[in-house]
């Protein structure tokens, strides 16, 4: 049971980081973004280029080899690159779509994901690559060796989930983000720079995806085009479970899904079900959504039952 919990929280932390990016963008713009998984992957490829000193195909230059940088610098460049991609998408696409329906912008994010996927395949090919882990080893908890990047993923998710929530409520810019999703036109009429808010949100969501991709890569051990998008889908589900607008909810949603997947792997692996991880996500999502619909009705019935009983006895 302890093992299930530890393994679940390790992957839950990563899902939570992806989910935080989903919630940030949705809370500030009302848009559900599908691009950030691939944005995170693109950042990770850049980190791998810089850290491993890869030889990259550049026109007119014979086998240019990049100097190998420390992991931390590569990671920093990956996060900055992902944030830049998010900001560019906001300026070049979201802003030009004006007051379009959030669904239309969501479809545009699918376009960005496909564009990045195609670019990665074109530049790096299909075969998996490796990025050396920044540190190895770590403490053993319930028989599971937990690496520093896994611990960092979970702690960062919890800190960001509750920290960003406080920032949103306690700063003027944070309140502007909350208000922007409720009424973007009115936000401009009180003097809040909507374009800066939108830029920050898209940049922050993309940066969070890159952080998540960087922290999960040492656990998986390889990276390939589309790699983080598979995890991002679970992050999307975690955000939905958390209510889509709650940052702490996204962290809880991520951990719930992580633990559910870990439990399924532990107790249902003998069934040899294909895609068990995603079936678990679907089941948890259905249970939570149905529970959310049925629970208020159940509570209402329980509240009215004693009063009816009193009426009958009277």
């Amino acid at each position: 049971m302890g093992q299930v919990l530890v393994l679940g929280l390790i992957s839950g932390g990563i899902y939570a980081l992806f989910a935080l990016g989903v919630v940030m963008v949705h809370r500030g713009t009302g848009v559900l973004t599908f691009a950030n998984g691939e944005v995170g992957t693109a950042g990770l490829f850049l980190a791998a280029l810089l850290v491993d000193g890869w030889t990259i195909p550049v026109p007119f230059i014979d086998n240019p080899t990049l100097p190998a940088l420390p992991w931390a610098l590569g990671a920093l460049a990956a996060v900055a690159f992902a944030a830049l991609l998010g900001c560019l998408f906001e300026v070049l696409v979201v802003r030009r779509m004006g007051v379009s329906d959030p669904v239309a912008v969501a479809v545009a994010t699918v376009g960005l994901a496909l564009f990045l996927l195609a670019s990665e395949l074109q530049i790096f090919g299909e075969s998996p690559k490796e990025l050396a882990a920044p540190v190895t080893g770590g403490p053993t908890i319930f028989g599971v060796i937990v690496t520093p990047t896994q611990i960092a993923g979970l702690l960062l998710a919890i800190a960001l989930g509750f920290g960003l929530q406080a920032v949103l409520r306690r700063t003027d810019f944070g309140l502007g983000i909350l208000a922007a999703a409720q009424d973007p036109a009115a936000v401009r009429l009180v003097g809040v720079p909507l374009s800066r808010i939108s830029l920050t949100i898209w940049g922050a969501g993309a940066a969070l995806a890159a952080i998540a991709a960087l922290l999960v890569e040492p656990t998986v051990g390889i990276l390939y085009p589309g790699y983080a998008s598979e995890l991002y889908v679970v992050g999307l589900a975690a955000a939905v479970i958390g209510g889509l607008n709650s940052l702490p909810g996204a962290v809880v949603g991520g951990c719930v899904l992580g633990i559910a997947q870990s439990a399924a792997t532990r107790y249902l692996s003998d069934l040899h079900l294909p895609g068990l991880h995603f079936v678990v996500v679907l089941v948890v999502l259905l249970v939570v959504m149905l529970g959310r619909q049925l629970l208020p009705e159940l509570i209402k019935r329980m509240d009215t039952a004693p009063s009816r009983a009193a009426e009958v006895s009277a």
Partner: protein, 268 residues
Amino acid sequence: MTTPLLEVRDITAGFGATTVLHGVSFDVPQGSIAGIFGLNGAGKSVTMKVLGGSVPARSGSVHFRGQDITKLSPEKRVAMGMGHVPQGRQVFPGLTVEENLRLGAYTLRRKDKKRYGPALNGVFDRFPILAQRRGQLAGTMSGGQQASLAVGRALINEPDLILVDEPSAGLSPVATLELDEVLQAVAHTGVTMVLVEQNIAFGLSLVDTAHLMQTGTVVHSGPVGELDDQTLATHLGIGRVLQAAAGSALAARQAPPVKKGSRARRPA
């Protein structure tokens, strides 16, 4: 002759292939209250949106405090001293009353955070209901209370000019009376105001100058004291009942001599 606070010159504006405003011009002197009246589709709200910067002018110019603001964004106009009470009030329903007010003071807090406390207290003194409900979500308040919040949110930034768009729309008669008191109180502060109002009797009771619009142009401009019900009927085509109501509002306004810039004639 002093420069008007707001100068609107030959504005044309519209959406796509449709042109809604065809050369709108008027001035708003400092400390006065200007009313824009007209039937549905006359272009009143589009005029307000052009003044606020949310709809671009295709031609013409808007000058505020002598500066050309025609191309400026709504945020920059707010930073220059423009406040808004938008149509439908547009308070942020998921934020508390105090958070709405804090957001209203966004540019004030960026200029000088120390001024926020006294400004907030000033709004709470003027609208005690907002102080009582400072922790309540704005979306759970009544229409009249939301109107107070929208006005308070505009005032907290200490603007020189407030654009008030259809404030009585969707309000009950009781809430409209409350709003009348609120706007009368705002008028006493000496702030310049541009008011668009469908309820002509209500609007005429507030303004100094009336600009009557028809199909995207201003067809009559002048002090309310010189406006008679026949002019209203001619330019707005209002029916007998409305004409009588507007006429009685005019009679009430015309009884004491109209003195520009003076708010003392109005009951507080």
